[in-house]
Assembly symmetry: D2
Homo-oligomer: 383 residues x 4
Amino acid sequence: MSIGRKLRYGMVGGGRGAFIGAIHRIAASLDGQAELVAGAFSSDAQRSYESGEDFLIARERTYASYEEMAAAESNLASGQRLDFVTIVTPNHLHFGPAKRFLEAGFNVVCDKPVTLTLEEAQDLKNIVARTNKVFALTYNYSGNVMVKEARALVLRGELGRIRKVIIEYSKGSSARPAGDANRRAAWRADPSRAGPTGVVGDIGTHGEHLARYVTGLEIDVLCADLTTFVPGRQLDDDASILLRFKGGAKGILHCTKIAIGDENNLNIRVYGERGSLAWYQERPDELAAAFAEEPPQVLRRGHDYLGEAAKKAVRIPPGHPEGYLEAFANLYRGALRAIAAEVTGQPLPADLDFPTIDDGLQGMRFIDAVVRSSARDAQWVML
Amino acid sequence: MSIGRKLRYGMVGGGRGAFIGAIHRIAASLDGQAELVAGAFSSDAQRSYESGEDFLIARERTYASYEEMAAAESNLASGQRLDFVTIVTPNHLHFGPAKRFLEAGFNVVCDKPVTLTLEEAQDLKNIVARTNKVFALTYNYSGNVMVKEARALVLRGELGRIRKVIIEYSKGSSARPAGDANRRAAWRADPSRAGPTGVVGDIGTHGEHLARYVTGLEIDVLCADLTTFVPGRQLDDDASILLRFKGGAKGILHCTKIAIGDENNLNIRVYGERGSLAWYQERPDELAAAFAEEPPQVLRRGHDYLGEAAKKAVRIPPGHPEGYLEAFANLYRGALRAIAAEVTGQPLPADLDFPTIDDGLQGMRFIDAVVRSSARDAQWVML
Amino acid sequence: MSIGRKLRYGMVGGGRGAFIGAIHRIAASLDGQAELVAGAFSSDAQRSYESGEDFLIARERTYASYEEMAAAESNLASGQRLDFVTIVTPNHLHFGPAKRFLEAGFNVVCDKPVTLTLEEAQDLKNIVARTNKVFALTYNYSGNVMVKEARALVLRGELGRIRKVIIEYSKGSSARPAGDANRRAAWRADPSRAGPTGVVGDIGTHGEHLARYVTGLEIDVLCADLTTFVPGRQLDDDASILLRFKGGAKGILHCTKIAIGDENNLNIRVYGERGSLAWYQERPDELAAAFAEEPPQVLRRGHDYLGEAAKKAVRIPPGHPEGYLEAFANLYRGALRAIAAEVTGQPLPADLDFPTIDDGLQGMRFIDAVVRSSARDAQWVML
Amino acid sequence: MSIGRKLRYGMVGGGRGAFIGAIHRIAASLDGQAELVAGAFSSDAQRSYESGEDFLIARERTYASYEEMAAAESNLASGQRLDFVTIVTPNHLHFGPAKRFLEAGFNVVCDKPVTLTLEEAQDLKNIVARTNKVFALTYNYSGNVMVKEARALVLRGELGRIRKVIIEYSKGSSARPAGDANRRAAWRADPSRAGPTGVVGDIGTHGEHLARYVTGLEIDVLCADLTTFVPGRQLDDDASILLRFKGGAKGILHCTKIAIGDENNLNIRVYGERGSLAWYQERPDELAAAFAEEPPQVLRRGHDYLGEAAKKAVRIPPGHPEGYLEAFANLYRGALRAIAAEVTGQPLPADLDFPTIDDGLQGMRFIDAVVRSSARDAQWVML
């Protein structure tokens, strides 16, 4: 879906030193199909300008605020006009910029969770529908090659009817009081900026999306026990959640930031009537598969025995590890295809495969249910 | 604690082809300190006699029932008299033989769960106290060397205050309807013989004991979601349980028999304020240990850097794998030391380390609470 | 092959504190088919007597030397007579006792390497042939279940023609000068007791046997670079050996005692035209198998998909780890079947599967070739 | 070392569908510091033009041959002029373009092995010296973060004196006759284009460089057994090589293309007097470290406990896997720093860390020695 030039994009947030901004810049450009040409990189104007220099952005397209950026960029001629805007701000600053740029006619890529509140997510869904722009949400783990293979195997029925899904996202980086601050992420512990939950909005929501992406199952009811283990922290840092899916499958989703020794241990196991799958994000190139009465297998990225979705998402041969950035870039690859179609006035491809506003809204429903359950001392609630 | 001869024991249950009977015979004799000399190996007299032949037991000490065995063996002279009896029958046949042999003056080793019901367990505790005999319960996973090291590290405070404990016991052997029958274990699916739960009484109870053994923590309240996935099965085959321990730690215990691809995947992870531990039964010789800011370690059986309990429980050097039988034999080793003291009229050693009737009773309280919670559609209940 | 009683055996060497003696005692008795009733446990008479007490052996059948033992035991009546003798002395004391007991009409189990010199091995082969007794050699790793599966797969042609075999045996226990002494194994560094090589006679010879057992291939020529890394050591502690097998396959066998961090890392990988296998002794229950164009598999002990030899060698179900002792006991199980036939005057079973004097002789040819190659500064030599 | 704009580069080779060209394009641009603006992407002019379109290169800077490219690009004004040229052609087309562009005043990045013959490598070293341009060679595995940590640990003396180094590079992709052809790599099996060895020039040379990079040791003599297992292949596909390093360390380097089941299994283990390290390319984010008497550790990318070189080479936090492309981009990052200095007339940074012509020349000496040894039926030869 090349349009003969790189797509031009601007960034909101993601200034000097920000973790996720750097990730988006690499991921967006990895395949040489997009270039960053503008940005409001920080709510601190000086930091925004300095960041623009770091990223080799022209001074005149570096802005002191996203509002200024939206106003100025809306006036540019088509040969300069941004094809999309990427939003990588803290959670409370997703909805505003997304609304502003969509309504100004720009396609949008936005970090997760999609908004601060469930209400904002519902509003944003309406805005996306009304503006008819591309809106991609970076639940990036669904960009992993072997996650796509897992999804294909489940949806093709290889496991039979799904019985149980176990999702874990375990980190130790915030096991101690100073953890958050060290990582330039003080906002993550602040309810006014992070939202009503600490660990679930930050990482648990990845787990919910991953489970839904792989299995197609939707959570019906859940029972969530949230805990704040680290003294002085305003938001929870640990969640144990029992799940009942529509259709009868059961599950557990647990996520934590206090697991010393764990780095970014997101994993999912899916057990069906005929077989099971297990994927561990820290070893992304492999997918364990077991079928009754047969020796267990380890499916690996890059081989001919994989399905189409997994084959298309590969850049390099087996045994040459792909990592987090390549998976993130796969999500962008899909979004860029959609955006290229949109800006050239063509119909969107039929086989798009990236998270959308619908995934964002479902994610917010999940977060909302977790908070409601926890507020009732971990009683069962409907999603 | 050698008494200059092998200890003599008899067996109730465990006839030809029974899985757990063979395990007990190997474990009891592994160190050459005990010999099987009598048995009521089956409730089918003919099968008991044939089993006795298999095990090279004299015909006159092979019995048609445990009652016959208790009567006959009680009359033997001290040079022939059994030092202990091992009970390896289905759950509903633990209490009767245990009571009978204890009251006849024999020490007892019994398989888990200790009884069919909580009430029986309470009765048995009184009987053990009254008869003052040794009663050892084979929660065998606590016999593993690196489990002993884990316990020592936690109790010594190396992890700081414990925050979270995750215990999993996942098997796939009964993922299909025929599974149980194939494995001569039809009784496990029969409430009148197995008790009120399928998966928790069979394997989940190992997890509860392991967590308590390693951490010293007791469960305060729990929320258990039991499921029967395999059609036609009378008892549950899957359990997801949220735990709150006394003192503020949280936990998850999940166990299942429908996890195709999992063999005997019992594992425990313990997260504290300063560090964490993880032990996987299928790789028993290693214990993962992580402490904040330090490279993760893999502690391994047999090294000088381990504590006393782990050192004493080792038979062979590092890198020569010890397995399930050796761990089971460690439990027997402790029980035999106690029994040797008892039969020679000496005080029991102070450093005994094997599960007792107290562990059995606590295990039955756990099972009872799980069943009560599940009966209320997975509400929280006290233990 | 039960003969209605336990087989009686005596032990030469293996006194109090000796590593390999304890292994043999457990392995011989693990299945309850043999009992230790006599021994010359040490060349130090007092230590022999004390060891006999430890092992609950009657004083009158504990001896000050193997010669005394052979003389006395030869005179016992058939109801008491030893069915076999196990020799677990240092290498220079294998030939003498083996010859003495074979010629006195006893079956023999002997530790590896079979003798101190190639000449002794040739003599012993003649003695075994002449006396027509069972002679079993404890190349114990061939007793592992998944090694038997590997052998079956190769011999059945599943891998196609074998191209390359890589065998490694890497230990770190003697990486420092004090290492050997600490482990009651000073004799291993003494050429007059260990033989002409340190690392190859001790551990490399296991690798040669394992490769031959699994593949059926015989080494044609080799090029061996022996090194003594630890100052002051009389014998080599490291060997790198290139192999060319009869028939065109190539290989590498490397073994070392200076590999800090390695415990007992014996492993073998076999690459054929159609597939490959890999087995690691420290994870004995699994066998990695890969076939061209297919997802790699992990075959695991205890499953129905394995072949007959692997099925027969299993004691406990999948996921309940078997270890070093169980594998060693498998070797004894085979030897006991042969011995039971011999002592009851029946023909030996056709499906025996344990190392014999032929394996011992081939092992000595290998050691001899390694020493010859090294003496010529690592030139190629014929076996 | 930003110069306020992206560095401009051209590419020789690497057209549509070529594996390594795509790698270089991603790696060069990953950090947003370089952009591809010109190329002679194929010796087939039409394919070069089509490739240029794929890569969004202006038609007037897409060339039919490297000679044409060198002539045209030499005439461009400084605001357009290439800062460097990347050469990603088959081995026989490294020397010509490298010479041509260096002599035209361009910096060069070149794929390995540096040339077809040892003589070319010696010539090229002189040309680099004479032109005084930056010449970077893509032994890309030295770009891995944990390889840099390994090197730092060894050079800092943490392992003590090095005793043994084992390097393996095992692939199965060419285990069958059709393997090479399938992968657009027919030239790899053609001596006139690949050079005198198949497996060593392709992958073994990575192993030699890795060993030298990590340990600082140079090979003194070697004994190489090359084999061609796949019928009809002109060049070897398997090599087993014994190494003796200057200073007394020993080693083994083995590499193969016939190892069904292995993907890109490059690994190195280094054993010293006090400790050992092991790194496996397929799990690049971890480095196993063992020190005598201590529990083994697993050092992991991204942590504060690592040294400076490893810290500087990291892009994303622990647990977010980095892969092959990120390591390759680390090599480019170093080269780009040097090139930025060169084009702005500044002295090269003192802390450069990428392979140079010296590494290329040493690599060719290694290949030459391997071929000489093999020609003498695997006798020992000096490097």
